[in-house]
Structures are given as structure tokens and as C-alpha cells.
């Protein structure tokens, strides 16, 4: 049983263009959702929060998982009063990127490969602590996919490659309306992309995976 916790996608400019979570016990996105329920309008931009009241968010039973960032929080439209949740989420994304970037660079150094090329020349695939395992996949263009799962899952490289090749490339890159500005990063706000990704992750989580 593979337990998938969350997914980050970073582009070449080191910005987080997509984040979603399925199983997370300490989410900064969920914290303020709990606080704001009852009186405030919970629909922000493209993001629809579910009425789940449990503190551990599991989105594999049909509810839509939380996603970040949305256009109201993207760096191009910075609102003067940023909500605490976005700041915390942004900081976390930067921390994650920093850890992965540094690890990738020391691995490249140990393999005496040049870090400036895209596509992960040193071959860093994952690291594990006692509570989670982080899997990393870098496309040749520099787009980075980071997937956190439970510790028992040994390799999600084929999964990440599938996500890149058949979901990201198909639904995001081949969409002519998704403009890639060389100076500014645009977050991914594509319902098809999200739906296909959720279905794929749901399939992965429920299929019996042999430990490789």
C-alpha cells in the first residue's frame, strides 16, 4: 500500500507552480481552513475547500484535494494583505526547494557532474527519513517534481516519469493558453490536469504495489 502525501512542482525559475496534498497531518493549508469555516466564504479563485472537518486530510475518497497556488496568490498579483496561510505555504515551498536543490548539488558534485545542466546529471532519486520518503524527478527542461510518500515505498521514479510525460506534458505544456513567460512564473490552474492527476494518484495508492 502506497501512501502518497503531497506533490510539489517547481519550474526552472525555482518557483512553486503547483502543490497538492492527499494525506497530510500537519498541513498549513488546512490550518486556516479550519479557523475560517463558519463565517467566511471559502471559495477563493479556483480553489474550492471541502467541508471536511477531520484534522488529517485524506482526499482519496472522492473529495477534491487542496491545491496551491492560485491566481490570487501568485507572485504576479501580490495582494497587499496576504493571508497567513499563503505566507506559510510559500515558506514551506521555499524550504522544500532549498533542501532538494542542495541535495541535488552535492550528489552532482560527488559524481563530478556539472550542476548547471537540466535533467539531473548526478542521478539523485530520493531520500528518506523515519517518517517519510521524498522522491525527486527532474525533466531535461528543468521542471522538478517532488513527491512525498510513506517510508516503505522504495521507488516512485516510474510514477513521476508518468506524471511528467503523460499528465504534465499533455495537459499543461500542450495547452496553448498556458503561456510561459521567461521572466515570471505562472501557477498551473488547469482542472483537467488536476482531475487526471488525482485519478492517477488514487489508482497508484489503491493498487497493491510490490516492494521493489
Amino acid at each position: 500500500m502506497v501512501v502518497v502525501n503531497n506533490l510539489y512542482i517547481f519550474d526552472r525559475h525555482c518557483e512553486c507552480i503547483f502543490y497538492t496534498e492527499w494525506n497530510r497531518t500537519n498541513s498549513p493549508l488546512a490550518a486556516e481552513a479550519e479557523a475560517g469555516r463558519g463565517s467566511k466564504d471559502l471559495v477563493r479563485g479556483n480553489q474550492v475547500l471541502t467541508g471536511d472537518t477531520s484534522s488529517s486530510r485524506s482526499s482519496l475518497d472522492g473529495q477534491r484535494p487542496l491545491v496551491w497556488p492560485t491566481t490570487s496568490t501568485s507572485t504576479t498579483h501580490r495582494v497587499s494583505a496576504e493571508s497567513l496561510r499563503n505566507v506559510v505555504m510559500e515558506e514551506e515551498a521555499k524550504l522544500v526547494y532549498g533542501v532538494v536543490y542542495s541535495t541535488r548539488n552535492i550528489i552532482n558534485k560527488l559524481n563530478s557532474k556539472d550542476s548547471s545542466q537540466g535533467g539531473n546529471p548526478g542521478g539523485f532519486t530520493s531520500f528518506a527519513t523515519n517518517t517519510y520518503r521524498l522522491h525527486y524527478y527532474e525533466a531535461p527542461t528543468g521542471v522538478k517534481f517532488i513527491l512525498n510518500t510513506d517510508v516503505g515505498t522504495t521507488s516512485m521514479q516510474p510514477v513521476l516519469e508518468m506524471i511528467y510525460r503523460n499528465i504534465y506534458v499533455e495537459y499543461v505544456m500542450k495547452n496553448p493558453l498556458f503561456r510561459i513567460d521567461p521572466k515570471v512564473s505562472t501557477p498551473i490552474e488547469n482542472d483537467y490536469f488536476r482531475a487526471v492527476l488525482n485519478n492517477y494518484i488514487r489508482e497508484i495508492s489503491s493498487a497493491a504495489m510490490p516492494a521493489s
Binding site: N5, N6, E21, N23, R24, T25, N26, S27, E92, L95, V96, G98, V99, S102, T103, N105, I106, I107, K109, L110, N111, S112, G122, G123, F124, T125, S126, F127, A128, T129, N130, T131, Y132, L134, N148, D150
Partner: protein, 138 residues
């Protein structure tokens, strides 16, 4: 087959590094120091970004393995904050016992040496010899 061993002290400074095969690039002393400092940092940050912390019940103890296409890195952290790192081939999945033996060698040949300054680089022929024997037998 162990390719290299690194020992990092509590503040993130490198106190020992040795390559035992040609698999890994030979790092200059500056590069090795940078490696140690960076590893010390990411080891700590990895616990911070864990998505599976259940309040105060579970504690994340930092990076334990790093997998790459060609080798695997194992890290064992002692309760006093010293990190023992070994880079091995992909066949070895759990090196905790070997790293604990390295810790025992460190205690015997460095800590019990009255002339050894704590947190300083380890310069002991006996330590090197015993570690080489350990690496060759695992």
C-alpha cells in the same frame, strides 16, 4: 561495498573523510568541507518539511538514506549529534549496524585518546587501520 565514509561533528564540521574506491569523485579538502556543511543543513531541514508529523507524537529524526542512480548514502546520527555517513553501492539497503561499528571505533580510538581534541579532525593511524578493516569485511 562501501565507497566512502564521512564523519561530521555537532556543528556541521567535517572531522573525517576517506574514499575506499574510485566510484565517487575525489573531493578536494574545501569541497569535502562544503559537503559536510551542506549535509548537516539538509539533514536538519528534512525533519522540518515532513508531511507526516502527528503533532508531538512522532519526531522526525532527519535524513537516513539518500538514493541516487549509482550509489546510496546512509546516515547514522548519534544522540550527541555526531553524524556517520557512508556512501555504498545500491545493493546495501540498511547500513545502521556498520555505522554503529564505526561509532564504536570512533569512541575507542578518538574519544578515549586523551590527546584528542573534541570536534577536531581525527588523525589516528589505528582508527584508519581498523576502519579500513571494517570496510573491507562488509
Amino acid at each position: 561495498m562501501i565507497h566512502a565514509v564521512f564523519i561530521i561533528n555537532r556543528s556541521g564540521g567535517l572531522i573525517f573523510n576517506k574514499n575506499y574506491s574510485n566510484q565517487l569523485a575525489q573531493l578536494s579538502s574545501n569541497e569535502a568541507l562544503i559537503f559536510a556543511g551542506t549535509f548537516h543543513g539538509i539533514h536538519a531541514l528534512a525533519s522540518r518539511i515532513s508531511p507526516a508529523l502527528k503533532g508531538n507524537a512522532t519526531r522526525d529524526l532527519g535524513i537516513q538514506t539518500i538514493d541516487t542512480k549509482n550509489f546510496r548514502m546512509h546516515c547514522f546520527q548519534t544522540p550527541t549529534g555526531i553524524k556517520f555517513i557512508a556512501a555504498t553501492d545500491l545493493l546495501l539497503t540498511d547500513l545502521t549496524d556498520a555505522l554503529k561499528s564505526v561509532y564504536r571505533l570512533y569512541c575507542d580510538y578518538a574519544l578515549k585518546n586523551p590527546f584528542y581534541n573534541l570536534e577536531m579532525p581525527i588523525r589516528s593511524d589505528m582508527f584508519d587501520a581498523m576502519l579500513l578493516k571494517l570496510v573491507q569485511t562488509s
